[in-house]
Symmetry: C2
Subunit: 127 residues, 2 copies
DNA sequence: CAGTATCCCAGAGGATACTG
DNA sequence: CAGTATCCTCTGGGATACTG
């Protein structure tokens, strides 16, 4: 039989808890957008449909603080700023791709499960 | 040079957007707790230090709706309920481990980056 | 034991307008 | 162009008490 769970199971185990910053809605997309080269602020806004300037700026600052990206500002008018992945930021590619592969492979099961759950709810409401 | 970013970059690309449910604070830990066997509700509360019954119940319902776990209720008094990973739930192990390995390998760089950022802030405040 | 039922709050994220 | 500044909403998650 399975052993009892250790109360200290996660002590010193930052592995699971740390990625709070990656629970950010846009992080994954921003990182992906930067994966094939430097991008300007305004360039990022295009594929990131719906992101507001405030949220994009905040997300970029957070990624910068975490050492995931570098901000490169060119002096002059009009301003020109580019963002680029650091080595650390680039190293995220592998885990992200593994995750994406999982989703590709299982998204249908997941959606089906959710739809069945919805169906059950409808049944309940109907009764 | 890098090509312009496609405005429709994420169209039909659920890969990045879908895991909203996994942005849940406790999902990773719950899944991990279930990884080596069935667990009772009360057993889960122990390593998940600090989780409230409401949040644990909500998380379990969500995981169930997504087809990640199964709820097994034994009739009788006092009640006894066990949770178990489904095949789908078990398949999450690999991506989770890849992610954990990334954190293990890079947590120091991340923490150092954050501390440096803090330092910069202090410098600013001091000036 | 395995949960609900209530109430509450911080903070993530959005809308809009403005600026060096 | 590359952001700030404000204001606002919403909901994930916590605290506490109660129950079949």
């Amino acid at each position: 039989m399975t052993e009892p769970l250790d109360p200290a199971m996660f002590d010193g185990c930052s592995d699971i808890d740390l990625p709070i910053r990656f629970r950010n809605k846009w992080m994954g997309k921003i990182l992906l957008c930067l994966e094939d080269g430097r991008r300007r602020y305004s360039e990022l806004q295009i594929p990131l449909k719906g992101i507001t300037p405030k949220v994009l700026a905040e997300s970029l600052r957070a990624l910068e603080r975490d050492g995931m990206i570098t901000r490169i500002a060119y002096p002059g008018m009009p301003p020109r700023v580019e963002y680029e992945l650091t080595e650390l930021g680039r190293s995220l590619r592998e885990p992200r791709e593994v995750w994406c592969k999982w989703v590709d492979a299982h998204v249908h099961e997941l959606l089906r499960a959710r739809m069945e759950a919805e169906g059950d709810l409808r049944d309940l409401n109907a009764s």
